[in-house]
Symmetry: C2
Amino acid sequence: MNRRRVLVTGANGFIGRHMLGPLQALGDDVYAVTHSEPAEELRTAVHWCRADLHDAAAVEDLLARVRPTHLLHAAWFVEPGSYLTSLENVRWVSTTLGLVEAFRRHGGRGMVGVGSSAEYGPATEPCREDVTPLAPATIYATCKRSVHDILARWSAPAGIGFGWARVFNLHGPGEPPSRLVPQLVRAGIAGAPFPMRHPGQRRDYLHVADVGRALVALLDREVQGAVNIGSGEGLALRDLATQVGACLGTSIALGEPGVEPDPAPTVVADVTRLRREVGFTPQFSSEEGLRDSVSWWMAWWNAHSDSVLT
Amino acid sequence: MNRRRVLVTGANGFIGRHMLGPLQALGDDVYAVTHSEPAEELRTAVHWCRADLHDAAAVEDLLARVRPTHLLHAAWFVEPGSYLTSLENVRWVSTTLGLVEAFRRHGGRGMVGVGSSAEYGPATEPCREDVTPLAPATIYATCKRSVHDILARWSAPAGIGFGWARVFNLHGPGEPPSRLVPQLVRAGIAGAPFPMRHPGQRRDYLHVADVGRALVALLDREVQGAVNIGSGEGLALRDLATQVGACLGTSIALGEPGVEPDPAPTVVADVTRLRREVGFTPQFSSEEGLRDSVSWWMAWWNAHSDSVLT
């Protein structure tokens, strides 16, 4: 069998960079696309290509040059604080549809796109790909869901295998520092109480390295359609805070909970497809994964102590 | 109040050309976009602009030049026989999202897009915009539904009024000749039996001139979100054949019905929003509308008698 040529977009991002090692371990020829400077430690590992994916001519050039057999499309607008509401999401729909069409024209065979648990409507049970209704509540989730729906119809006539990773919550090195786990670590180090509006909210957390491995496994196994990427375990956020505290050898006091009703009490993945069809099991146990993230963030906050104090 | 500058895409198309007169009657300044040569009788009525909407630079130029306050976007891939399954639908999603974004940047205030009854899932009752589940079964309908979902989320942060016309069945002068009403007229003239697979299928037919008027009314009244464009009356296709025959002074024999189950027995519009919120009532009664179409098609087939005989 010929070696696969895999184009990875968003390769320098939080999730994307964790797909590069697993792809190389499979023996794939990896072409990593980024618009920004790749992180130091990633520079020599793969073929790096600089391109602005919003530039249709640049995409055409890139695809004509690389002629990838496979595509792992992780690039999207992910600015913390604004990604859920930004009109940039609409631009990424067009950019994604243009990219996959160029991929098809230049001989592409199989792809995986990155979706989100936010595509699902409110649920009390773990979300199942073929059962739980989709009801995105933000422009971000609506755009992700639309890309899924369109590519699911496009893939057969286009002759392209299509997997769609619905990623649940994640944590790990390099996450935006404003997000929950880094902020819990920050509070734990500072001995400050942590304001948590909905401590009973149940979420499904996976270490980003396992998310990267799961995406690569999904591409490799050629499972078609949406597959949840999660641990399958619902963790109440108050218990997450307790576990982060335990990793730090402290306990994190939670502020008074909010009074407004919780719009999404339970967002947990049913991982039957991920386990049985993709054959994927996380390498980290949930405790090990959290310990790894917490120790990375402890070092990071200590190196950025000005940020801890502000 | 300043005069509105209305950009009409697909202005030379089956529906689009029926929007030009009603817009002018409202006193709007009308800019009609077409990629092809405008029909003879339409040439002097409005400002015609030639542009390929798939060309982002051409769209940018057009919007910068016209700076429309309003947009009636009727252009799409509509090739009979292939429009339901073609990958061109995906291209029109990107083209539409790019167009509306250029419209927003250049000061646009309100728009109407053209959707389809095919966005709805199977229903036994008339389809209601806020009740009947969406469940598109083709790439065409999936792409239309995705544009609706995305623009419904985009419109508020973009500051653009957004109406979405879910058009049901229609007939009229200039329809593609391969479609049902023209083919019934052809069979009636030739005295040939007409093969009809599902004579009990109920559909909702409106004359294209009323569809054009309804779209203009939707833009004018600034009703937000999806609005069904239909007659509100379910007509069994066997009765449509009878009525066409009556207009021709003949009766059309139907072939043996198909044996496969009917995938969509009833596709009828609930027109409550169209009547109450848009305030629109068709000018043609259903009998008058059909008589108008049939007499146009009778003349057309007689002028194309080689086509009748093949």
